[in-house]
Structure formats: structure tokens, C-alpha cells
């Protein structure tokens, strides 16, 4: 495909108006007759065992409708998150819920409930758990390993000497749990002219989605109708059904708009299950709207790293070897898996000749972790950028040049299995961004102005950006309208709409004649991907493509059956199917749709492909007879890793006297194949840059290790960047070269958009401080002031979750 009508063009996504006018409905905007309001009682303790629950006073309060306790929901096995628990493993772990006629009554009732909890040992820093004799976050162990060979708890302890050595920056010698490698690592270091070793910490932090999750559920005739705040749509159903103990067909999810998820709302989460069970128990609709503070507890957080890396470089700047060891802070529910992903990102972005990854996922009694925008890739991007700078300096190579020398291209092989990539143009991205930024001129600028020092940074971001095997579904109705059914979520990126335009492109139709069906699984949606992992663009363009191609094929066949000839005699344009060479002979889309209904069978959904998912099958069944149905599974070629890549250049002015810095200039360039939606891409690149700036300098968990209390449970304390902390203007661009394994050449970009930013920031801070490597995110003003004053930092080496 080329000479696009819709691809690469800006448009107005249908949900924009609602967001601007306030008419867009989020989960908490929905009401149902007889609805009551639930509030949760959660653990005030980092780890404990509930010994008694006394709800007698609350039960008799006016307006209290019911109480849900752990006995009312299925028990789960640790470390899986429970809907309600008797063994809370973090502060904020839900223990019970109260429903009342209004929220205030529910809250008053919670205050009247007595819960006795016997405290258990807890830990907020993985190294405090690893050290011999240290507390375990779970009674079952302090490490939870997920692997293809089997998952389970372990108890792993290092000697105090081993922990101390790790803290002092030496290679960890304690036990690890995961390992993979490729190439000859020893040879790689022998061949290296330069070897750099650095310890590092990246502190985890809360997702803090703008919309605290809300769920509202009711049951009708055995079906649970769930209004939720979800990143995914049809993909959400199987997990939700399993959580509620019903079949997939008996769950409907309505999630039209979601105020951000960033990985925290991908699949069914406990409070959505809680609402379903509560509604079932009470026999009436229940809404649970959690507070901002509870979103901190229950909204998940990024995995923290405490690690060590050794990199080898040849004289010409080529990375010959990478050896990385990561202790992961995986919270109480063993969610994450960021460590290995970080290793994969080193492999892909810097393409070292040989590599080893070792990891150890350690449980802590902190807020549960989950995938957060570039989980693993973005932490390691922050770590790697100053190391690449240091290597360049030591080898006498320009900082841009060393990245170009090691840049990923179409021939790069990645990860342990040394898989191919579908396509990659990192060098082109670096060149383009350097030109937009004016790198050559900027490196010649004076560095010091009074108490301020200018720092220039380069960052590279990566995340795999696509998957395959899902279904597409389009329908043309007799009125000629094109209905694009999409089961992807709408977490705020508009990609549900931009990917739908591929169907319009294939069908050569006007966008104004298209209707997107999304946001309600009762609206006949197909089985589609999770909206996460930067996959939507690659994956959803393929499903819409195959569905539209199926519709085109059917239209040609119907035309041939109706007007004579063979399907190959026909083509489409102007929302007509016409005979090639005799354009007057043809049928409008509306006429073809009407004819499809007459003909029945596959044309109008009475039959369907055998390989489509049961969810898609049910949608087709319900649509059968309403028009021409295009439906297919994405069986297009997919071979190799699909890289989403991004590059950022940043210029900062750091004040040595205050530890503060201003971001003067920012350029972000995407390498995500063909640009699908320029405005959407620009927004992703800019939004991602803000996230990166937050991770680099501001956001972090703070826990008091003495009592497990979290210091920052709200927007203010979490230090999310404000409009005055980010540049008022930033430039974005794209390489815009098509990926051969996507019908329109597109790949995803959401996560690399942040990774390049955090990396550019740590690079720039290091540059401003004459190459000093903090080896830590965030780098806050106090750290810079201490460094400049020659004072020791106030945290212990490798300490995490500290202020």
C-alpha cells in the first residue's frame, strides 16, 4: 500500500469532543437504578494476619446495605493479589468493603469497623531482605521466580559480606534466580580496550494514573455488566470472567474512556472483581470509586532495580560485552519481570557482541508492582546513557558517534536467542534527531555561565512494539456506512481510532462514512490485543487490514455473482465495487451490503472463519444478517522482534548552587515505521518525554524502613512533573520508514517515547557534572547539592525507596 488517503494524515478522533466538553463518560460517570456505593477497609500495616473482624456496629448503621469480607470472594494463593485478604502484604491491601446508600455513610461505617491484625515481619528494601537473617515479605519466602520451567517461592539469603560487596559496587556473588546469555562473554571482555563497571539503583514509583480506578457492576440474567477503568477491552474479558467465576460470554465490559493506565489497567484487577462479587451478593448495582491515595496503593508501581553492570568496549567504540545483574523490587505480589526485559533492551539498543543477564526478583511489602511504561527497558535506558557517555569520553569518541557505532539496524540480532528484528533504523533516528537539535553546534557552546552549567544529553529508548494473531471485524450496512468494530482499549492515546483508519484505507472510503464501535463489549467487538506494551499500532493495523481485505474480497465476489464475471474483474473505489474497464458497471457499498444479506452465508456473518476467537465468533453471530461482514484472524507474516525505537536529545542548564536544572531544549525522534497519525505520534513523544523527565529527576517511592509507611501517596508527594518542570516547547519528529511486516508499515512507540527521555536526562545531568554518574534515578536537587559540596549522599549505597 502507498499513496495513502488516511494513513499519515491528521484527523479528529471521535472521543475528542467529549473530552473537551466534559461529556466523555468515565467509569464513575455511570449510574444504574438502585446503585449503592462501596468503600474499602485496607491494611494499615505492611504485613500482618487478620485475627478478628468486627462489623457489628457498622451493620446496624442507617444506610449501610452490606459488607463484603474475604469469605465472600474466592481465596487466592500467594503471591497472587487477593480481592480481599486476611494476610495483607502491603499498606493499603484491601481487607473488606462496605456498601451504603452514599459514600459518606460507607466511610462512616468503615470507621466503626474493628479489624485486629497481628503484625508480621516486613521489608521495604530488597537488600534488607536478602541479607542473612533479614525479614521476608511473605511467609512463603522472599523471592518469587517466574519461569517457563515453573514458578514458585524461594528463600534466598546472601551473607552480609556479599551484600556489602554489592553495595560497594562490586560484582554480586550471591545467588541469583534467572539467567540468560549469548556469545562468548569472556572473549568479549578480553577483546575490550575499555571496561566500565557501575552499580545502579532505579527506585520504583507509582503509576498515578489521572483517573483513579472505578468499577460499577450489576448482574442481569446471569450476565455481569461491568463499567470499568481499563486499558484493554475484549482482552480484558477472559481475566475478568475467570476472576468472577463465570464464562467469558457472561461478562460485558463497558470502558469507553480511561484516564490513563500506563500498564496498571491492562487486565482484570482485584477491585473490579470486588465490585462484581459485591453486586452479586447484594443483588443490586455497586459502584466502587477509590480515592487518590488508594490508587497509589492499588494502582501498582514500577519495579525498582538495584544492579551492577560491566560493559566492554573495543577501541573503535563497539560494545564487545555486557554483563548485568539486577535485583528487582517486585513488591508483595511478584509482579513485574522487568529485569530480563532490561537485559533484552541492552541487547537490542547497544548490540553488544556478547552478553549475560542475571536477575533476582525479591519481594517487598511495598505497593504492588506492575508493568509501567517501558517496564525494564526504561530503567536500563536511564542507567545506560551515562555509561555510554563515559565510554565515549574514555575512548575519545563523540557521544553521538559511539551510539551510532552501536546502533540497531535491519541486520541486528537480539536477546538470548539472537532473533532477527522486523526492521530497525536507529542510526537514521540518531542522525535526524542530531540535526533537529543542532548537536554539532551545541557541543561547541560554552559550558559554564555563572553558577550554571550546561549539560547535553542523548537518550535511546526501546520496547518491543507489536504482536499478532488477533481478529479484525468490519461491517458495511445497507445504508453504505462502514462500521469498524475494534476491541482494543482507549486509555487516552486515540490509537483505537488511528488504527481503525487502516480499514478505511483498504476500503478506500471517506472517514466521515465510518463508524467506530468500541468501548462496550456488547457492541459486537472482536478479540483484540491488550492495549499495552506499545503493541496497539502494529497489532491493530494488521487486524483491521485483514478484516477490510476480507470485506473487499467479499464485495468483489458478490459483484461477480450479481453482475457477472469473476471477482478478479472487479475493483473498489469511491465506495463502489466496479468492473475494471467498465466503471459504470458496479454496485455501491450499500447495495453490496443489501445483497450480502440476501445471499447470506459468510457474506453476512451466518458463517465465519474457523480460526477466529470465540469472542469474535459471538460478535459475528450477533451481527449476522445486518450487512456485509469482513472478519478474519491476523495470520500475516510475523518473524522476529518488532522494535519500537526512539531517540532524544536534551539541553539543560544546571545550577550548581541549588541542584535545580532547567530543560532548555528537547528533541524526540520516533523510529516506529510509517507514521500513522502525526498528531497522535507527537503527543506520545511529548507525553513520554514528560514521563522520562519525572523518572529522571522527581518520581520515586519513599518508605520508612522502620515501619513500612509510604511517604508519598498523592499527586503532590509523588512529584509528578508540572508544566513548569518541563520545557514549554519541544520538538518531535519521526524517521518514517516502513516496517515490512506491517501492511501499512507501522510499529508502536508509546514506551520508547519515555525511555529516550529519561536516558537523555541522566546523560545531560552527568554531562553537566563533568561526567559524574549518580547511577540512580531519580537525581533530586539534594543529591546534586551534596555532590557539588563534596558531601556524602544521605542514603546508603544501593539503598532504595528512600527520600
Amino acid at each position: 500500500m502507498s499513496n495513502y488517503k488516511h494513513i499519515g494524515k491528521d484527523f479528529v478522533p471521535p472521543d475528542i469532543t467529549g473530552k473537551v466538553t466534559g461529556k466523555a463518560k468515565y467509569a464513575e460517570d455511570f449510574r444504574a437504578d438502585g446503585m449503592v456505593y462501596a468503600r474499602m477497609y485496607t491494611s494499615p500495616m505492611a504485613h500482618g494476619r487478620v485475627t478478628r473482624i468486627d462489623t457489628s456496629k457498622a451493620e446496624t448503621m442507617d444506610g449501610v446495605v452490606g459488607i463484603l469480607t474475604p469469605d465472600d470472594v474466592p481465596a487466592t494463593e500467594a503471591p497472587q493479589a487477593a480481592i480481599l485478604t486476611r494476610t495483607p502484604a502491603y499498606i493499603g491491601d484491601p481487607i473488606l468493603a462496605v456498601a451504603a446508600l452514599d459514600e459518606k455513610t460507607a466511610e462512616d461505617a468503615l470507621a466503626a469497623i474493628r479489624v485486629d491484625i497481628e503484625p508480621l515481619p516486613f521489608v521495604t528494601d530488597p537488600l534488607d531482605s536478602l541479607v542473612a537473617g533479614g525479614p521476608d515479605a511473605r511467609e512463603e519466602g522472599n523471592v518469587y521466580v517466574r519461569s517457563r520451567e515453573g514458578s514458585g517461592f524461594r528463600s534466598v539469603k546472601w551473607t552480609r559480606e556479599q551484600v556489602d560487596e554489592f553495595r560497594s559496587g562490586k560484582e554480586p556473588t550471591g545467588e541469583h534466580a534467572n539467567e540468560w546469555s549469548y556469545g562468548d562473554l569472556d572473549r568479549g571482555f578480553v577483546d575490550a580496550k575499555l571496561v566500565i563497571e557501575e552499580p545502579f539503583v532505579t527506585i520504583g514509583y507509582a503509576h498515578m494514573s489521572m483517573e483513579p480506578r472505578t468499577a460499577m457492576a450489576y448482574w442481569q440474567n446471569g450476565t455481569c455488566y461491568m463499567h470499568g477503568s481499563c486499558q484493554s477491552q475484549s482482552y480484558f474479558l477472559p481475566g475478568l470472567a475467570a476472576m468472577l467465576g463465570v464464562e467469558v460470554k457472561d461478562v460485558v465490559l463497558i470502558s469507553e474512556n480511561t484516564g490513563g493506565g500506563f500498564g496498571s489497567k491492562i487486565g482484570a484487577y482485584p477491585i473490579i472483581g470486588l465490585t462484581g462479587y459485591f453486586a452479586k451478593k447484594l443483588g443490586r448495582p455497586v459502584q466502587l470509586r477509590i480515592s487518590r491515595e488508594q490508587e497509589y496503593y492499588n494502582g501498582s508501581a514500577r519495579v525498582g532495580f538495584q544492579g551492577w553492570i560491566r560493559m566492554g568496549f573495543a577501541e573503535d567504540g563497539r560494545a564487545t560485552a555486557a554483563d548485568v545483574f539486577i535485583v528487582e523490587d517486585i513488591g508483595p505480589n511478584a509482579t513485574g519481570g522487568d529485569g530480563s526485559s532490561a537485559g533484552g533492551a541492552i541487547s537490542l539498543v547497544y548490540d553488544p557482541g556478547s552478553m549475560r543477564f542475571r536477575g533476582l526478583p525479591v519481594l517487598t511489602n511495598t505497593t504492588p508492582r506492575g508493568a509501567q511504561r517501558g517496564p525494564g527497558q526504561n530503567q536500563i535506558a536511564a542507567v545506560m546513557a551515562p555509561i555510554m557517555d563515559k565510554a565515549a569520553k574514555e575512548l575519545g569518541i563523540d557521544r553521538l558517534e559511539i551510539r551510532r557505532i552501536n546502533s540497531t539496524n535491519n541486520d541486528t540480532t537480539v536477546y538470548a536467542e539472537q532473533e532477527p528484528v522486523t526492521s530497525a533504523y536507529m542510526d537514521e533516528a540518531l542522525k535526524k534527531a542530531a540535526e533537529m537539535f543542532g548537536w554539532e553546534a551545541k557541543i561547541k557552546q560554552p559550558k559554564r555561565i555563572g553558577s550554571k552549567v550546561r549539560g547535553l544529553g542523548i537518550g535511546q529508548g526501546y520496547h518491543s512494539a507489536g504482536t499478532n494473531g488477533f481478529d479484525g471485524l468490519v461491517r458495511i450496512s445497507p445504508d453504505g456506512r462502514i462500521h469498524i468494530h475494534t476491541g482494543i482499549g482507549n486509555l487516552g492515546t486515540y490509537s483505537y481510532a488511528s488504527t481503525s483508519r487502516v480499514a478505511a484505507e483498504v476500503l478506500k472510503c471517506e472517514w466521515e462514512d465510518c463508524v467506530i464501535h468500541h468501548g462496550n463489549t456488547d457492541d459486537n467487538l472482536p478479540w483484540n490485543s491488550y492495549q499495552a506494551g506499545s503493541v496497539s499500532t502494529f497489532t491493530q493495523t494488521r487486524t483491521n487490514y485483514v478484516a477490510a481485505m476480507d470485506a473487499v474480497d467479499k464485495m468483489k465476489r458478490i459483484a461477480a455473482e450479481t453482475l457477472g464475471g469473476t471477482p478478479d474483474d472487479y475493483d473498489i473505489d469511491g465506495q463502489r465495487v466496479y468492473r475494471i474497464g467498465s466503471p459504470a458497471q458496479g454496485m455501491s457499498y450499500g447495495a453490496v451490503a443489501a445483497r450480502a444479506i440476501q445471499l447470506g452465508g459468510a457474506y453476512s456473518g451466518q458463517t465465519w472463519p474457523s480460526d477466529i476467537h470465540e469472542i469474535t465468533q459471538r460478535s459475528v453471530q450477533k451481527l449476522a444478517g445486518s450487512g456485509l461482514i469482513g472478519v478474519a484472524k491476523d495470520n500475516l507474516e510475523r518473524n522476529g522482534v518488532i522494535p519500537g525505537l526512539a531517540v532524544a536529545f536534551v539541553e539543560i542548564e544546571l545550577d550548581l548552587e541549588t541542584g535545580k536544572y532547567d530543560i532548555l531544549d528537547y528533541v524526540g525522534v520516533a523510529e516506529c515505521g510509517t507514521v500513522l497519525h502525526p498528531q497522535g505520534l507527537a503527543q506520545q513523544m511529548k507525553g513520554g518525554s514528560v514521563w522520562g523527565m519525572g523518572m529522571a529527576g522527581m518520581e520515586r517511592h519513599v518508605y520508612d524502613p522502620q515501619n513500612g509507611l509510604p511517604a508519598n501517596v498523592g499527586f503532590h508527594e509523588c512529584r509528578i512533573p508540572t508544566y513548569l518542570d518541563v520545557p514549554s516547547v519541544s520538538q518531535t519528529g519521526a524517521v518514517d520508514l516502513p516496517d515490512p511486516q506491517n501492511p501499512v508499515g507501522a510499529r508502536g512507540i508509546g514506551e520508547p517515547a519515555m525511555g529516550c527521555s529519561v536516558a537523555a536526562m541522566t546523560s545531560a545531568i552527568s554531562d553537566a557534572l563533568d561526567g559524574h554518574i549518580f547511577g540512580r534515578t531519580p537525581v533530586s536537587p539534594d543529591m546534586i547539592v551534596n555532590h557539588v559540596a563534596g558531601l556524602e549522599q544521605s542514603y546508603m549505597p544501593l539503598q532504595t525507596n528512600n527520600s
Binding site: R39, Y41, A111, N707, H716, D725
Partner: protein, 329 residues
């Protein structure tokens, strides 16, 4: 623990004149809550960490609003919003220090409703205290922050006495630097208190940050003409550039004779439970020129007697740097 973030039942009074407000304040005393912009209030109430019976909304009292010129200087009603202070031409001309401090309070949205009085008397931001723990400041018998592993990066260098929380107010530093006077009224009396005495540390009163007694209302703040139009310097270093509290701030007023400092008031925020007067610095710079050498000589005096906690030693060089910056010509 409960979910919080839900307003409890509370009586709301909206008096239209000061007498009615004083009557209500007197009647409810410790069980009453004076409401300005509400930006500190609602968090406490919705988190159910404070339990007043009644809120007395001062925003409907016209006499508590506005900037007035007096024979002695300027008087600002306590319920005047920070936005109105920032936009006031008179203040911008003569008391730029107060304006500069007010401009750095929180965010534009908060400044639109936040009042001068509210900003001055706001409560400590120590996260342990805000969490509703029973610490000294909350009437309990322990401090969670001043412990070997306490997360006390934001806490004090000076004046610790069981509690190590700091004064969070930006305008308070400016008020002390400008030698302001607080006008305090109760049902039976009106008293004036120097800003330097108005704010109290934990050694004086551990559960309050000012001298305000139950039943009293801060009605106005007076800024003497003595410091009008002098040389001012204000700087606030915070993690974020808006909607954040100072790690350390400095408010300085200087009388100059040419390039020579004849008199000055240096005040730091974020380092003690009260705005912290740098008297040693003031004494050292008297008669000195604004120059790097006098700044370097004075700066270390700012932190004499500092007692660092385990995570706030950065405040020492930061304070000293801010003194140097204030003295740059």
C-alpha cells in the same frame, strides 16, 4: 484503615461580619476551624485526621479582604487571596518581596483561592504528621521523623524539640523579613504581634505553629513603611517549580546606602518550625558591600548551630548558597 477522602459531617458557618465570626470562634474554640481558601483544610478533614465540629468560613467578611495604605505602611486583610496580592500594584511597587513569595506559593489554581492568612498559619507538612500518626505534634508522644532511618529529607536543621517539622509557608519568610505585624482579634481584645514572634517552634507549643489561641482570628497583616521599596531577594528551592513546598527558601530585605548594606533581615524557610532569622548574617553584612567576598564570609554564618538529620544535610550548603545569591550585586 478506612478509605478517607470523604468529607465528614461538619457545621458550616458563613458569617458576614467579623463580630459574628469572633462570636463563633469564641463559642467553638478548639472545636472550631477557621476557613480561608480551604487548601489546607479539606485535606485534613477529608482524611479525617482532624475533627472540628464547625467550620467558620471567613471569606464572606469584606473587612478581612483587601490591601489598604495606612500612615505606617500597608495593611492587608487576612482573607485577601494570594492572587490579589500578586496583582496589587502598590505591593508590586513597594513590597516586591511579599509578592515574590506569594508568586511561588503552590500553583495558580491554589493561589486563586488561597489567602494570605491561610498561607501564614498553615500547618506543618511533615508526612508522618499528615498521615494522621499520633506524633508529638498531633498530641502523641513520639516523633517518627527524627529516628535513625526516618525519611526526613524535608525536615529541620534548627530548633528541633521533639518535633522536627518545618514551617512550610512562603509568605511567612517574607513577612518576617519585612518585619510585619500580625493583627489578632478575639471576642474581647485585639492584639498585635510581631511576625518574628507570631510563629512558634515546638519548644514553645508543639501542636501549633503560631501564637494564635483558640477563639482568636488573624484579621490583618501590617507591613511597615520602613522596608518599602528596599532591596529584596526571594528564592525558593523546591523539587518542583510549582505546587511544591520549599526545601529551603530565603527572603531578604536590605537597606542600602549606595552599594553598602546598612541594615538587613535575612530569613530562611524550610529549615525550622518557624521562619528562621539569620541574625549572624545580618550582623556580618552590616556595613559591607554586596560582593562575593562579603557573601562568602557571611554564608557559613547562616548555618551555625545546624543539627542535621540523616537525610537533610544538603540543606546546609543550600542555605549558604542562597545567602551568597542574595548578596550578588
Amino acid at each position: 484503615m478506612a478509605s478517607f477522602d470523604v468529607m465528614p459531617d461538619v457545621q458550616l458557618y458563613q458569617p458576614a461580619n467579623l463580630d459574628d465570626a469572633l462570636n463563633l470562634a469564641d463559642r467553638y474554640a478548639d472545636d472550631g476551624w477557621l476557613l480561608g481558601g480551604g487548601q489546607d483544610t479539606y485535606g485534613w478533614l477529608k482524611d479525617r485526621a482532624k475533627h472540628p465540629q464547625a467550620m467558620i468560613d471567613l471569606n464572606g467578611i469584606d473587612t478581612l479582604r483587601g490591601v489598604r495604605e495606612t500612615d505606617e505602611g500597608i495593611e492587608i486583610g487576612a482573607a485577601t487571596t494570594l492572587r490579589d496580592i500578586i496583582r496589587n500594584d502598590l505591593l508590586r511597587r513597594d513590597f516586591g518581596l511579599l509578592v515574590a513569595a506569594a508568586e511561588r506559593v503552590a500553583s495558580p489554581q491554589i493561589r486563586n483561592v488561597g489567602t494570605l492568612g491561610g498561607n501564614l498559619v498553615q500547618d506543618a507538612r511533615c508526612w508522618y504528621y499528615r498521615r494522621g500518626l499520633s506524633c508529638y505534634r498531633a498530641g502523641g508522644n513520639t516523633c517518627y521523623a527524627d529516628t535513625p532511618q526516618g525519611m526526613n529529607r524535608e525536615h529541620c536543621l534548627f530548633g528541633a524539640s521533639r518535633c522536627v517539622a518545618v514551617s512550610p509557608s512562603d509568605t511567612a519568610t517574607a513577612a518576617v523579613a519585612l518585619d510585619a505585624t500580625m493583627v489578632v482579634q478575639s471576642l474581647d481584645r485585639m492584639r498585635t504581634v510581631a511576625a518574628g514572634d507570631f510563629f512558634v517552634g515546638p519548644a514553645t507549643h508543639i501542636t501549633r505553629m503560631t501564637l494564635l489561641e483558640p477563639g482568636e482570628i488573624l484579621t490583618a497583616v501590617r507591613f511597615p513603611a520602613k522596608w518599602a521599596g528596599k532591596r529584596f531577594y526571594f528564592e525558593k528551592v523546591a523539587d518542583r517549580n510549582t505546587w511544591d513546598f520549599a526545601l529551603v527558601s530565603i527572603a531578604v530585605a536590605m537597606s542600602m546606602d549606595g552599594d553598602t548594606i546598612t541594615d538587613s533581615r535575612f530569613v530562611c524557610g524550610g529549615v525550622a518550625a518557624t521562619p528562621y532569622r539569620l541574625r549572624n548574617v545580618e550582623n556580618a553584612v552590616r556595613g559591607k558591600a554586596l560582593a562575593e567576598d562579603s557573601a562568602n564570609a557571611a554564608a557559613p554564618l547562616a548555618t551555625q548551630g545546624a543539627r542535621v538529620l540523616n537525610a537533610n544535610q544538603f540543606k546546609v550548603p543550600l542555605m549558604e548558597n542562597l545567602v551568597r545569591r542574595a548578596m550578588r550585586a
